[in-house]
């Protein structure tokens, strides 16, 4: 039956060669190669749950008196958008689960993109010939951030409304065009009436469409250029060592998809997220405390909080304060991200093709820079929740802000220097030496711990195989055999 169907298609497409070639494709294995897959699968789940939700959402900001199933808000004036989210959550069967899975999936989507980005950066996988995919990936990061923000802004609840208010101020702060831009985007003077329906169109149609297109190109380029691999026995710049796409890799990858879905379903069903009925409907004059955005835009919020009270006023014009931390900083961040592969090639003079990955320790400057950047944005992220942290720890907020202002400047430098030193110290040790030391220590420990069941000492020739299951296989520069996937 299947054979006949296959023949039917092949008679019309002559695809046998192509298909066989793809089935035979070789993928190297390493747990860090999984982050991109995680992002892809979270996106699939976002699309599936998102389609369901889109069928129930109402974009209107016109007011209605809430009469739905959620008792505490009955009789309260809310927008149609807010009411439709409550209806989806409390009255549509499976609506609550879908909505919460969607939100959790968005958080995981962004987390896996960032992890994926870190993997690519620290191992030098962006070098020629993969600059194009780096640029596409950075674009996907930006689109993901936008779509996450636009998505959680839709319910028109007090928390997201406050976020939109701040976003409005940030756009308004852009020199020359700011005020015009806000009037066009919001359809008039804040709050106007258009923003939710416009964000909705972007969120469910335009941006996902672009994301799908870019993911397709992203994957097609991976197929075309073949995956990178860590250095190791038999692994060279002119080959790729791993398992074939069919059937093992396929089964593993689909298995991973189901496991990710399982995790998200569990979170979506059991762990409450963004309970908009507790925040209440948005009112421009209502006060929100402990207002934190989702984590992937939290660093922008942190930058807004820490930036000192400076703004530029000259010649009858103004560059307002939010411009610097919330428009200029993200702008520069993305310019730097886009430019990195080209910048690095220029600085190192290394314009050669690379298919073998760097061990982070072998590139101390790059690794240290990466740690500087991660520390910087990590502290900004913490600063985005400075009120919550101060309350939880019983700290007075004002000194805490001063502390964070210092920390965000000092700690990244310290972390970078430390990383550089560690890299330099480690780089002296070859991976083989490291493996031998590791093996010796392990054998010794095993002999002490369990005399009867100690592992047989391995022949030197076997050592290379043994490494593949060392816990530090990643840092030893060997491709651990997917040890993170089980």
């Amino acid at each position: 039956m299947i054979a006949r169907l296959a023949r039917w298609f092949d008679d019309r497409l002559a695809a046998s060669n192509f298909v066989r070639d793809k089935l035979n494709k070789v993928f190297p294995e390493h747990f860090s190669f999984m982050f991109g897959e995680l992002a892809l699968y979270s996106f699939v789940i976002l699309v599936v749950t998102g389609i369901f939700m889109a069928l129930f959402f109402n974009t209107s900001l016109s007011k209605t008196v809430y009469e739905g199933a959620y008792e505490p808000l009955r009789g309260v004036q809310v927008s149609q958008a807010y009411a439709s989210v409550l209806r989806l959550s409390f009255e549509v069967r499976a609506g609550m689960v879908m909505r919460q899975i969607h939100h959790w999936a968005a958080l995981l989507f962004m987390a896996s993109i960032v992890l994926h980005l870190c993997r690519i950066f620290f191992t030098g996988a962006f070098r020629r010939p993969r600059e194009i995919n780096w640029v596409i990936g950075v674009t996907l990061l930006a689109l993901g951030m936008f779509n996450g923000f636009s998505g959680y802004s839709l319910p028109d609840d007090l928390l997201s409304g406050t976020g939109l208010r701040i976003a409005h101020a940030i756009v308004q702060s852009i020199p020359v065009i700011g005020a015009w831009a806000t009037f066009l985007i919001f359809g008039g003077e804040y709050p106007a009436t258009e923003i939710i329906s416009r964000l909705y169109t972007m969120h469910i149609f335009l941006v996902p469409g672009i994301i799908v297109a870019l993911i397709s190109i992203h994957l097609a380029l991976v197929v075309r250029q073949k995956h990178t691999q860590f250095p190791g026995p038999g692994r060279r710049d002119d080959n790729v060592v791993g398992v074939r796409l069919w059937p093992t890799y396929t089964a593993l990858s689909i298995g991973l998809f189901f496991l990710v879905s399982a995790l998200l379903a569990g979170l979506g069903g059991l762990v409450q997220i963004n309970p908009v009925w507790l925040w209440g409907p948005y009112e421009p004059s209502a006060v929100t405390i402990a207002a934190q955005p989702d984590w992937y835009v939290g660093w922008g919020e942190g930058a807004l909080r820490l930036f000192p009270p400076w703004e530029i006023r000259a010649f009858g014009y103004m560059v307002p304060n939010p411009f610097f931390p919330a428009a200029l900083l993200p702008g520069l961040t993305f310019v730097a991200l886009y430019a990195w592969p080209f910048l690095e090639a220029r600085v190192t003079g290394d314009y050669d093709e690379h298919h073998l990955l760097d061990r982070p320790r072998d590139r101390p400057v790059r690794t240290a820079l990466g740690v500087v950047v991660l520390t910087f944005y990590g502290i900004l992220l913490l600063a985005g929740a400075n009120d919550v942290i101060a309350t939880e720890l019983g700290l007075p907020i004002i000194p805490f802000v001063y502390f964070l202002r210092g920390a965000v400047l000092v700690l990244p430098v310290l972390a970078g220097l430390t990383t550089w030193k560690i890299c330099r110290d480690l780089a002296g040790r070859s991976s083989l030496e490291a493996a031998r030391e590791e093996l010796a220590a392990r054998t010794e420990a095993a002999a002490e711990a369990e005399e009867a069941e100690e592992e047989p000492a391995r022949e030197p020739a076997e050592a290379s195989q043994a490494e593949s299951e060392q816990p530090d296989a990643a840092t030893a520069g060997r491709s651990g055999s997917g040890s993170g996937e089980a």
């Binding site: 035979n24 060592v241 074939r244 689909i254 006060v287 807004l304 069941e453």
Partner: protein
């Protein structure tokens, strides 16, 4: 690593996740049960795949059960495969049962927690079954595939360039190409114009609000504010009558003890009977400045922690805000509070032409 060590590591990982879950449980309104439920369910699914060599193939060094020893010990191998099949079957059966349960729960009206849990087991069962299948039964040979450099050979590049050059004949009319670019360029510019349709221009709207001289103040209850409405130290949100809820006109009205306020020059008569009103829109990023600390006479913005000195013209004292909250001139007419005009400055976050 021996399977026993692996087992210990896995148990530790699961425990770690559990501890982390308990640690973040305050975020979920102090109820750790959902997270414990997830951890338990994931741990159950994990048990299905437990004691599983990572690679059943030759690359595997854990040779006491599988790996290179496999070929040498076919009996052991068959047993191992049988055990794996049993685990896979168990996982899929578990998934089936959960999926059946899901249909029942849905048909009976649905229940979010149960739906999530059953989905977790159904999806997780399929997922872990597939992973065990791939790891234990499917071929796992590590193979090497050649790859060449990405660039095309020079002669191919040449041939492609030649193909493009076919257009040289008849295509190289510089004047015509210029006109084509001109037409397309202008069309592109014209195509940008509909952006203007998205909304009205800002005009003077950012400079003015609906406060006018003589407009009464109304509270959130839409009642006009009378002189005896507030006691000293109290605060309410007010709007211009007829514009209740207006985002740019919202103001906080605070009653101070007489003589407490140190009015700015020119504003000596803006605060009758100790009443003083400031814009409620933060001059930093526009959040409502609604937290009033009576002891220090400070207005706090909940978003970015800017603090404004109520007694000194709402000058910023801390945080990212650079400008004071605009003040609303007040006077009293027939025992009611009315505005003496619009705010002292444009309200809310700054913008290019603010000045």
């Amino acid at each position: 690593m021996s399977d026993r060590a692996l087992f210990v590591v896995r148990v530790m990982l699961v425990t770690l996740v559990g501890v982390a879950a308990a640690a973040v449980s305050p975020l979920f309104h102090g109820n750790p049960l959902p997270l414990v439920g997830i951890v338990v369910a994931m741990a159950l699914l994990y048990l299905v795949t437990l004691r599983l060599p990572h690679r059943a193939g030759p690359a595997r060094a854990d040779s006491d059960q599988g790996g290179p020893g496999r070929a040498a010990n076919p009996g052991n191998l068959a047993g191992e495969r049988g055990a794996a099949s049993a685990r896979i079957a168990l996982a899929f059966l578990l998934a089936t049962a959960a999926a059946v349960g899901l249909t029942v729960v849905y048909a009976r009206g649905g229940q979010p927690q149960l739906e999530g849990l059953l989905l977790l087991v159904a999806l997780g069962g399929i997922g872990s079954g597939l992973v065990v299948w791939a790891r234990k039964l499917l071929p796992s040979a590590t193979v090497s595939e050649e790859r060449g450099p990405m660039g095309s050979p020079v002669d191919e590049e040449q041939a492609t360039a030649t193909a493009f050059e076919r257009a040289e004949e008849g295509g190289k009319r510089r004047g015509l190409l210029g006109l084509l670019v001109l037409a397309a360029g202008w069309l592109g510019i014209a195509a940008l114009f509909p952006i203007r349709s998205l909304g009205p221009g800002p005009g003077r709207k950012l400079f003015v609000t609906s406060w006018r001289d003589g407009v009464p103040l109304v509270g959130e209850d839409e009642r006009v504010v009378t002189v005896d409405r507030l006691r000293v130290g109290e605060i309410i949100t007010v709007f211009p009558e007829g514009h209740h809820g207006a985002a740019d006109a919202q103001a906080v009205l605070i009653r101070l003890a007489p003589g407490q306020l140190r009015p700015l020059p020119g504003r000596e008569h803006w605060s009758p009977e100790g009443y003083v009103a400031y814009s409620k829109v933060c001059t930093h990023a526009g959040c409502p400045v609604g937290l009033y600390q009576v002891r220090s006479h400070q207005l706090f913005c909940p978003c970015h922690q800017s603090a404004f000195a109520v007694l000194e013209g709402a000058m910023p004292q801390f945080g990212p805000a650079t400008r004071p909250l605009p003040q609303l001139p007040l006077r009293i007419e027939h025992g009611e509070l009315v505005a003496g005009g619009d705010f002292s400055e444009p309200v809310g976050p700054g913008f290019w032409s603010y000045g």
